[in-house]
Symmetry: C2
């Protein structure tokens, strides 16, 4: 049983109440109970030694990544973080200095995005370090962006450049909070998600929840320098495009917006965020399924970034 | 370095913002950002196999305990839970049925206290099961009860009976949500905490934060049947009173209220909650320090439940 099948089994029939706007299945839970005109956003995420980072990672980067993942999910709803809790499960032989440096990385990121760290929990996990973070955020009700609103004909956009993140970026990415808030304030963004499982893995979440399909343009997909270097070093493995589609841990924004706003979005973004690339990578289709167009034509694409030859 | 010293080091200089009413150091974080007239409460807590439960524990009870610990902290602020997130870190050889039964225990408790389960995270922790729970709650601003408000002369109360919890109760306790909300609605409760480290371990948190001391009456401390059985089975170990003072994991309410309200509190409680004992166990003193009075006089008590002979 894979992770998604297990989650589907676990999340059926869960307790609910009138505070729930959107439960499991989007980037954050969306809840009533906030200030007038606002929804609350709630997100948790965990990183585990040997799985999400190696023992060689700098402790500051481990803290940065753990909090950054949750902030990236708040960004995907166009929200603003308010407060975070930090749970740290420590192996028996932990060094207090190492833990302090984790907190330092976490705290620096929190300060940059005005997120208060308001508590947490230290406990023991004898064999390996585990960090679990919670972020509470808020979003104006009319600006909250779900995964489910993409419409046939929408243009698809992605921030940054994709692939090869494990070489460096996954420990040092910046959550796209300012970018997402700016998008929601100025445009009619229909659906958004942050990329953690790769473009080919995460775009289907938008498509399924929007009851739509998509056609990507292979040449428009922004490929990171790290993905190109990786392909050059290991020519028998993934091509740069496959890396961009499937490596994961990009923590970039993927969103759908009306195609008539595409030029204004691209122009405005370039002015607001000159250092962050924005690419229009394809369009949403009424027909379901994920397809990719390259010089050989249009073919189906699976969630691992592989093309199905018809 | 013990847990408290590490936490003190980690929680100095943390990022903060204007949403923070009470940060680390109380049962929950208290935050602005809620409905008009309400504060938000945020709490996280983790349980780890081999530390907070054994491999023999029924999975339903593991789920119950994990969520119950957070709900008990919401109760300690007289709050109402709104929503919970569940992070489950699974060993490699996990059985889906076992995980489903954990969720079942969790979900039953959530339904009983109208807490929506709105998401979470499944991840891998190869050697042992770890559950981390988040609960978001709210509390009317004028009814939020901190640890810091106890005053010299206040009467001290404890719900239930203490000690011996590891025999059974720690996996099956009921969070005292209804009781705490009733107390806050009808009386002027000055300070409250839920007992997780034992009466002698947790009362000092109220005393330090309230800049006060306390004198307990040994004969008034409610001792559980489990603590008495345990002392009979192991006569060379803790006395029943020592168990009640120091075993921990009681998840009962300890609170301070003006002594002139003591009779009304005891009478009203008996009528409202006839099945749950409430005991007046001593009083808050202006002089710092924790003391206990028994037939031999008044002596100092340390956080481990041991009397210092003068």
């Amino acid at each position: 049983m894979n992770e998604f099948a297990l989650i589907a089994r676990l999340t059926s029939g869960l307790a609910t109440n009138s505070s729930v706007v959107t439960g499991p299945g989007d980037d954050c839970a969306v809840l009533e109970g906030g200030r007038p005109g606002y929804y609350l956003l709630l997100k948790t995420d965990a990183v585990v030694e040997g799985i999400h980072f190696t023992a060689e990672a700098a402790p500051e980067q481990i803290g940065h990544k753990a909090l950054g993942r949750c902030l990236s999910d708040i960004a995907a709803m166009a929200g603003t973080p308010l407060a975070a809790l930090v749970t740290i499960a420590l192996p028996k032989d932990f060094q207090p200095d190492f833990v302090e440096r984790i907190y330092h990385g976490l705290n620096q990121l929190a300060q940059r995005y005005r997120t208060a760290i308001v508590g947490g929990e230290t406990t023991t996990n004898p064999e390996r370090l585990l960090l679990s973070i919670v972020v509470l955020g808020e979003v104006p009700r009319d600006k909250c962006i779900l995964r489910s609103g993409a419409k046939g004909g929408d243009a698809l956009f992605v921030s940054g450049a994709l692939g090869g993140s494990l070489a460096e970026k996954h420990l040092a990415f910046e959550p796209r909070l300012a970018e997402a808030q700016w998008l929601a304030a100025h445009f009619d963004i229909h659906a958004m998600i942050d990329l953690s499982d790769g473009l080919a893995g995460d775009l289907p979440h938008i498509l399924q929840q929007s009851n739509a399909g998509a056609e990507l343009m292979a040449q428009a997909i922004p490929i990171s320098r790290a993905a190109k270097l990786q392909a050059r070093a290991h020519p028998s493995e993934k091509t740069p495009l496959q890396s961009a589609l499937s490596d994961g841990e990009d923590f970039e924004l993927l969103f759908a917006a009306p195609s008539r706003q595409a030029v204004a979005i691209l122009d405005g973004w370039k002015e607001q965020f000159p250092k962050v690339r924005l690419s229009c990578i394809g369009r949403v289709t009424r027909d379901p399924g994920l397809k990719i167009r390259d010089k050989n034509g249009v073919r189906s694409l699976n969630a691992h970034g592989y093309v199905h030859f018809a």
